[in-house]
């Protein structure tokens, strides 16, 4: 899955560590999701969407 977390994070002037703290995950997890190396679970995707006040499909897009 592709995502625009890096852009949204930059818009809110958040570091990966700050975003990780807000999502209650490790910085490595935020980094892996941003790079598309790891797809988050649905609950985590919802937390991300809620945090940026967006719908999940606005943030994540299927590559297929």
């Amino acid at each position: 899955m592709k995502n625009i977390i890096k852009i949204l994070r930059a818009q809110q002037d958040l570091t990966q560590a700050q975003l990780a703290n807000k999502l209650e995950v490790s910085r490595q997890t935020v980094n892996a999701i941003e790079k598309g190396k790891f797809d988050p679970s649905l609950p985590l995707a919802f937390r991300i969407a809620r945090l940026f006040d967006k719908n999940i499909e606005d943030i994540f897009t299927d590559e297929e």
């Binding site: 703290n21 807000k22 999502l23 209650e24 995950v25 490790s26 490595q28 997890t29 980094n31 892996a32 190396k37 790891f38 988050p40 679970s41 985590l44």
Partner: protein, 137 residues
């Protein structure tokens, strides 16, 4: 929100430290139960049994601490641990049984010790964790 995040991070560190302490205690009691009969209490069976039972009890503590540690990890960290555990289980069963067969068929001249398997398990798990961490970096 910040408090919850700090609590998560704090809990994660706490369970990791807790697991380290339990594992350290387990290794120490293992050394005590192994070398005690020879160097400390000269073959006293009662003390040896007590040493083994203490080691067993602390071993159960290690299992519980490990479960708590896994529960404190986030989903990527759990995935890394799961992949490392899966690889370790496969390697332990496949290589362990092959190694045992080498011993029972007398192809190797020495005994296939359980400690060799434990070393293999430890190294495989360590390598699996490092590879997983690097893969998702």
């Amino acid at each position: 929100m910040k408090k919850t995040a700090e609590k998560w991070d704090c809990n994660s560190r706490k369970t990791t430290l807790n697991l380290g302490l339990w594992t350290g205690a387990w290794v120490l009691t293992m050394a005590l139960a192994t070398f005690g009969p020879k160097f400390l209490w000269e073959g006293n069976s009662t003390l040896t049994l007590v040493g083994i039972l203490i080691n067993l009890a602390i071993g159960i503590g290690v299992i519980i601490a490990n479960k708590k540690h896994l529960n404190s990890l986030d989903e990527l960290q759990r995935k890394i641990q799961l992949e490392a555990m899966g690889a370790t289980l496969g390697v332990a069963v496949i290589f362990g049984l092959s190694y045992s067969m080498l011993d029972t068929t007398n192809i190797i001249s020495y005994d296939a010790e359980i400690s060799h398997l434990v070393i293999l398990i430890g190294l495989t798990y360590l390598a699996g964790t490092i590879i997983g961490t690097l893969r998702y970096r």
